[in-house]
């Protein structure tokens, strides 16, 4: 789907700077489009606990601003969207392509109730809690999100699901089993294909060959075992016998094998009333051979066949050589499928269907099911519209694949708990597992997996880059132990622990949930440091650390907090006073950069620094939690959207340059492209808000000047 939009200014990034400049320009009467990549606007600021130096609640300041951005009559906000390309148009304006990523949730219907999150089977690290806890694959970003709508994180289709010839949502089944929801897993399998238990024994498990876990660790998730366990589970527990749809149209099937049965099953699902002509044979066909060979337990096959019949499939025993016409006439059938392609040739009638699968050749069950599904489509179409068509290429490519030899039999029974264990190794490589639990739970029927990316062509006179900054990845300083040591956390994680909407409802350390009593805050973790690739000062860390020290001391009155620093950079209005206040509250300030962190036996931490202002020399100090005040890094990805060499310049740290000197803040080297807030370099919130407004002034001047011509 494509739409067009024409605006005065395209603001990229919905953090505090983007929101602020959008509101100001909107108030001036300009049309603004704001594009945010996350599912909610608010940026980093909404995730913070309290903010320096006034210690006001970040959420209380952000939420009204988010609401006024989103509801502004002159500002259109696209969330979960990306600017793909920006090109200069013929008349000087820019042509931008914005992709609205599919959220798979209809925003008009979603009421933000969160029922979907409760049933979702996939857990992901919650990016809005800096990975401290998990969220679900379907999620509302955070309680104050604007818009407060769920989105599904879905990265294509998992290789297991994609590789299944029977078209089973393998990942969904695995995820449901992992969550112990065997009944749902069984019926999810049935949504796609019958023969759950038989497949668990006979399937060659292409899914396991493609499994990402298998590629990573050499041992794939035991999907076939999981499927087999489901078969046994159903054998014991039953369930799911309700016919799917009741229809009027009758369709006959001559044959007793898996193709006939599967087709009957699929047609029943589509609301057709299938009638199987057994012609003196037992239901099961080639699968009965598998039973005889000991590859498939008899009771499992019976259970599978019963499940198919329970969908409303009828059977009738007519003489073997009854002409097809007679079958059609006598039974009031609209059409007929002949399992045996050789017999099907007897008649060329337009109501007779067949498949290329020869009965005397070995075929694998999942392929047979896949063929049955493929046939069911044209049959349904025929029944609905009377159009007979079996396109020549309907089965193209199948023959080759089908020639795989007989699979190994697996007979041993697997218990549900064992299957759960197998399933827990799944990596959720496509994130959403397609288990469809959310669809069933959503009271508003808002989930829609057919959603496609939407491309919006935007014509805009100006662009504001407000893409902010990213945080330094502390694993790039191995001596600080961030990856190795559970109780070394980042400042963003500490802010989440301190926020009232915090993940654990308390300030505690990750390794054992203990309330920390002696906390170290390590400044310049990834700033002012050549070895970190960032020689600049990150400007915000001193102050947010001083803030955290004060908040920690408020939350944990008996805790000791020590800040290790090179210089304390409390330079803004009220900042020095805030620093002195932290000192007066009892925060220890130690001059010395922490060079190395090592664990003790109980996950406490030794930090090493030079004690230059006290006794001198190397000093080792024990703490039970260490917070790394990670620096602010550039986030210049938007440059890629500018095609060719027309991209805005960046400085030596890759922040967007304000190329036109000290009197022209926010102006880049490209006419009509402006930059606001921390996309120009690290900035605190007040400086971002001021800069965003300065940028809005530049944009307004530019627009008014070009208006005049």
């Amino acid at each position: 789907m494509k739409t067009r939009l024409q605006v005065d200014c395209l603001v990229v990034g919905g953090g505090i700077s983007g929101m602020e400049s959008a509101i100001t320009l909107g108030d001036m009467g300009f049309d603004v489009l704001l594009v945010e990549k996350e599912a909610s606007i608010g940026g980093k600021m909404i995730l913070l606990s309290k903010v320096f130096p006034t210690l006001d609640c970040s959420s209380c300041i952000s939420t009204p601003k988010m609401a006024s951005t989103y509801n502004h009559p002159k500002v259109t906000s696209f969330t979960y969207s990306e600017v793909r390309s920006i090109k200069r148009g013929p008349n000087g304006a820019f042509e931008a392509k914005v992709i609205k990523r599919p959220t798979f949730v209809d925003p008009e219907r979603c009421t933000g109730c969160g029922q979907c999150e409760k049933v979702c089977t996939v857990a992901r690290p919650d990016q809005f809690n800096d990975g401290l806890i998990a969220r679900r694959a379907i999620y509302i970003p955070f309680p104050q999100a604007v818009p407060k709508k769920a989105v599904v994180e879905k990265k294509g289709v998992s290789p297991c699901t994609r590789s299944c010839p029977a078209g089973i949502s393998v990942h969904g089944m695995v995820a449901l089993v992992r969550n112990g929801r065997f009944d749902r897993a069984y019926s999810r399998h049935l949504e796609d294909a019958p023969f759950v238990g038989s497949l668990g024994h006979l399937c060659p498990a292409y899914c396991e060959m493609k499994c990402t876990q298998g590629k990573k660790s050499k041992i794939p998730v035991g999907i076939k075992g999981i499927e087999r366990a489901l078969g046994y589970w159903h054998l014991k527990n039953g369930g799911d016998k309700t016919p799917s749809k009741s229809g009027e149209k009758r369709f006959g099937i001559v044959g007793v094998g898996p193709l006939a049965l599967s087709l009957a099953y699929f047609l029943a699902q589509k609301g057709v009333r299938p009638l199987i002509f057994t012609q003196g044979k037992r239901l099961g066909g080639s699968l009965l051979d598998a039973v005889e060979k000991g590859l498939l337990p008899k009771e499992i096959l019976e259970d599978d066949i019963n499940t198919i019949l329970a969908q409303g499939v009828e059977q009738k025993d007519s003489p073997e050589n009854t002409p097809f016409d007679a079958l059609l006439e006598q039974n009031g059938l609209e059409g007929l499928f002949i399992e045996d392609p050789v017999r099907a040739k007897e008649s060329e009638r337009e109501r007779i269907f067949s498949s290329p699968l020869k009965l005397d050749e070995p075929h694998l069950l999942p392929h047979i099911i896949g063929v049955a599904r493929k046939i069911s489509g044209p049959i349904e179409k025929f029944l609905e519209k009377g159009e007979y068509s079996l396109p020549e290429d309907a089965f193209k490519g199948l023959e080759g694949e089908i020639s795989i030899q007989e699979p190994q039999g697996h007979n041993e029974e697997l218990l549900p708990e064992e299957a759960q264990g197998l399933a827990s190794r799944c990596l959720d490589c496509a994130v959403c597992s397609q288990c469809h639990e959310c669809m069933k739970a959503c009271p508003a029927n808002a989930i829609d997996f057919s959603m496609e990316p939407e491309e919006v062509s935007v014509t805009t006179k100006t662009i504001i880059i407000a893409t902010g900054f990213s945080l330094f990845d502390p694993s790039k300083k191995p001596l600080l132990g961030y990856d190795r040591l559970p109780n070394v956390i980042t400042a963003m994680q500490m802010d989440r622990l301190l926020a009232p909407t915090r993940p654990y409802n308390a300030v505690l350390r990750p390794s054992d949930g203990k309330v920390p009593g002696n906390i170290a805050i390590v400044l310049c973790a990834g700033s002012r440091d050549r070895t970190a690739g960032n020689t600049w000062c990150s400007r915000i860390c001193c102050m947010y650390s001083i803030k955290q020290a004060q908040l920690i001391m408020g939350a944990l009155p008996i805790a000791n907090v020590t800040i290790y620093y090179i210089d304390i950079r409390a330079f803004g209005k009220g900042y020095e006073e805030f620093f002195q206040q932290a000192k007066a509250m009892g925060t220890n300030f130690v001059k010395g950069k922490v060079a190395r962190i090592e664990p003790t036996a109980n996950d406490d931490l030794y930090i090493y620094y030079e004690d230059m202002e006290r006794k001198g020399g190397l000093r080792r100090q024990k703490h039970d939690l260490v917070v790394l005040a990670v620096g602010a890094m550039a986030s210049p990805q938007l440059r890629k959207a500018f095609m060719g060499d027309d991209a805005p310049d960046v400085d030596e740290m890759a922040f967007f340059s304000q190329s036109k000197g000290l009197s022209e803040p926010g102006v880049t080297n490209i006419e009509g492209v402006f930059v606001a807030g921390s996309a120009t370099g690290p900035r605190d919130i007040p400086d971002c808000v001021v800069h965003a407004n300065a940028c809005a002034a530049q944009v307004a001047s530019y627009l008014k000047k070009t208006e005049k011509g």
Partner: protein, 132 residues
Amino acid sequence: MARILVFSTNNISDPGIDLCGSNHMDYPLGVSVISVPCSSGIDPRWILYALEHGFDGVFVAADGTDCSYLQDCTTRTGKVIREAQELAKGAGLDPRRIKMAAICSVCSEAFQNHMKKFDQALEELRGEGNED
């Protein structure tokens, strides 16, 4: 169950109270909320009116230091509460039936605790009243 009237504010405390709901955190059933722009604009006479007409307690969920209108919001709201308590005393009502606390937009837990405690305190007050 005590009947508690909460005065909240549109931008600061009401979202905090909403968050209780979003998190399915329960508080006593007798709590009902009326939202106004700023806690400094709550009239003590409304508070008295509520007590005289059947509410057991009135709780003002104040903006505190997060108020976007006034830097001295807490002082002003405090004054409203004191005046309401005076009015209550004058009408022969227990001033402890009026309470205030700063509730910010994410203070769901704090609100829940305040409501539970206030509900209990009001029940106790009612008990005391019966003994008289």
